[in-house]
Symmetry: C2
Subunit: 413 residues, 2 copies
């Protein structure tokens, strides 16, 4: 792997201050020598009654931990979470499932619970068997090594150049409750109904059915709306754990989808997931600019989404951003190749507030100078109106630079 060297130029200045979540304890430890000298095991312990909802990769070649989580999410109860960085435990045949089993048995024994309440994730190289012994050894030592959210976020990094966290505090029934989450991801990012790895914790008492629904909705506009390189991972995972501990402070459980507090919770959860998702974009491998693609006027939201992804994933649009070149001709080509209904002679394209093209022709107001100035920003917004309907979508991406080639030209070696 290429050395994780300098921090992304788009990184936030510092790790945010996140609320401790009642009912959650965090730990981190090194597995063997650790990963590039860093802790690479993250372990979390939950109080009894914690429920969990998750979205997982739709990859047809999922990792062994994905298979494990998919099964346990059906039960919806969680007591423990074990995550290792450096090895994805993916595409290693039966060995992969055995490693997961050994890990889950050890964790369940430590916590006095069922293995169905243990959630497991792995991130890193694909195709290398993951030895369970050093992993289980580290797990056993973990309870002596408490961690805060920043330490936990650091323990799940691979090519990430910074630890990613986001949180929210809001009132329910006059009581302050919290959501705190962490994520990792930098390359192989084009999540399909999930992200790379993200873990979100809350003390809100809420039924698992409602938690599932709210997560699915919030995920669609956050992790599922980002793409670094159009490559979907075998291990994408987002899990939300709700301990319900705020019930002791007088918060009535949310058990009905009609409960007006669902909207408050969803708003806070969505904000946290979106913040984490954009941090992954801001740490896109080699990224120097974030790209926000807004498509409107499509025949449907799905159609807008396809066009927006076509633009955000176009290597030619991405390299134009890297070169600070307002090359809107490449945006036109990316719209065209998407194959979705569009009216060439009604197309409107904006870079930021600058009207670049209108009615299928370069705008009279367009000047190369204004556009070049705008392209120097580190966040570029490309807005496209297709002129054929009311569908819209927003997708977040980044530029494609020499840094991406350098990082991935010798990742394994």
């Amino acid at each position: 792997m290429a050395e994780v060297s300098s921090v992304s130029p788009l990184a936030p200045k510092e790790f945010p201050s996140l609320s401790q979540i009642d009912g959650v304890e965090l730990f981190s430890a090194p597995i063997g020598e650790g990963y590039h000298g860093r802790n690479n095991l993250f372990f979390a312990r939950f109080i009894e009654g914690t429920c969990v909802a998750g979205v997982l990769t739709k990859s047809k070649c999922p990792s062994a931990p994905i298979d494990w989580c998919r099964e346990n999410l059906g039960y919806g109860l969680a007591r423990g979470l074990v995550v290792n960085a450096g090895n994805a435990n993916a595409f290693v045949g039966n060995v992969g499932a055995l490693t997961v089993q050994h890990t889950a048995v050890a964790a369940a024994k430590m916590l006095g619970c069922s293995t169905s309440e243990i959630f497991i994730s792995s991130t890193g190289v694909i195709g290398e068997p993951l030895d369970h012994e050093p992993l289980v050894d580290a797990l056993k030592k973990a309870p002596q090594l408490p961690a805060d959210f920043e330490a936990a976020a650091n323990a799940i990094r691979t090519t990430d150049t910074f630890a990613k966290g986001a949180g929210a505090q809001f009132d329910l029934d006059g009581v302050s409750v919290s959501i705190s989450g962490i994520a990792k991801g930098s390359g192989m990012i084009a999540p399909d109904m999930a992200t790379m790895l993200s873990y979100v914790f809350t003390d809100v008492p809420i039924s698992v059915e409602i938690l599932r629904t709210l997560l699915k909705d919030a995920n669609a506009f956050s992790f599922n709306a980002i793409t670094v390189d159009s490559d979907t991972s075998t291990s994408d995972t987002c899990l939300v754990f709700a301990t319900g501990a705020a019930k002791a402070r007088g918060v009535e459980p949310i058990v009905s989808p009609e409960d007006p507090r669902c909207a408050d919770f969803k708003q806070a959860l969505s904000a946290v997931l979106k913040d984490l998702a954009l941090q992954i974009i801001r740490d896109g491998e080699g990224a120097t600019k974030m790209m926000v693609v807004k498509v409107s006027g499509a025949v449907s939201d799905l159609s807008a989404d396809i066009v927006a992804r076509s633009i955000a994933n176009s290597p030619l649009v991405k390299t134009a951003l890297a070169g600070e070149d307002a090359n809107w001709g490449r945006v036109v080509a990316a719209i065209g190749k998407a194959g979705e209904p569009a009216e060439r002679d009604k197309l409107q394209i904006r870079f930021g507030d600058l009207l670049v093209a209108k009615n299928g022709f370069r705008s009279a107001a367009y000047t190369e100078e204004d556009a070049s100035q705008y392209m120097k920003s580190d966040e570029i917004q490309i807005s496209v109106d297709l002129g054929v309907g009311d569908g819209n979508a927003t997708i977040y991406g980044c530029d494609l630079t020499h840094g991406y080639i350098s990082i991935n030209g010798d990742y394994r070696s």
Copy 2:
């Protein structure tokens, strides 16, 4: 545009020797000062009775010349072909159609034919109006400037680092007949039912209906099976002109799809188109290695095609090739993200003849040394068996290098 500097390391040693085609005359000229000092107008004149078939981009934002050719291909007769390089005449509103009209009128007047028999292509920057006056001036001078196929192929280059040609000679009715073709293309290459620009000429007498059918079939396994960067152009065009001049030498016209000579012609045409298509890959922007992806065992040929494209377009697979890293884990991820039916625990992956993975696990015979040695080749074959059916497909691609970023980070400026 980045300077067209050194020739691709994958370029053929020299331009092939191509047969002159009876009934075809070639010319090339500079438009104004030319393009980077090169001739950038290609003009071809055909004898009366020449028929033409073509495949054009499916982009929803096609260039003005594409609209023009689509209409004229319906008639199927050709007397002239005019191609300019440096400006794609795309996304310039009504101005684009006017430029095409002016050009066609001038050419038709020179040749004493209908404008419906004039075919026009443009390649280069998108979104800049193309002035018809210098173009028509150059066209008028062209008949004094005869060219051979190599000169014609040079006149249609943009970021291409070498001129691309391919030909075939074979016997029909005991008479030697020929196919000679040229092409251009290097970036924005993921043709959708067509290529960047390719022009193929033959003296075989053949009906336009049969020519269309044979072109469509041959195209599917040549131009439509290549991808440099997954970006489909607004201008992709492949036109085949059949002068029928070999009739004078005793070749009976091919007018029935049951004519056994169709197979001979199709075989020769397919070989020429595939040769040209692979030359485009060998001139992929920044390419240092060609990638051949063969997928078998899919539920259908279409499913195999989707998986093969997912691998060939994966930035992570492409950068692994650039780094000479046998990173088959990224191949697994690309298979997984394609979303097509695949059996993880039956998957088989080969790099060249090396069995890398079998039954969802690294092969016992695999050694890193053998794989690293193989990755040094300049043509890498990745073969995948999905283990679920009989569908198969082959897609041709190339690696993703710093060269691609350099070329496209400042294309316009």
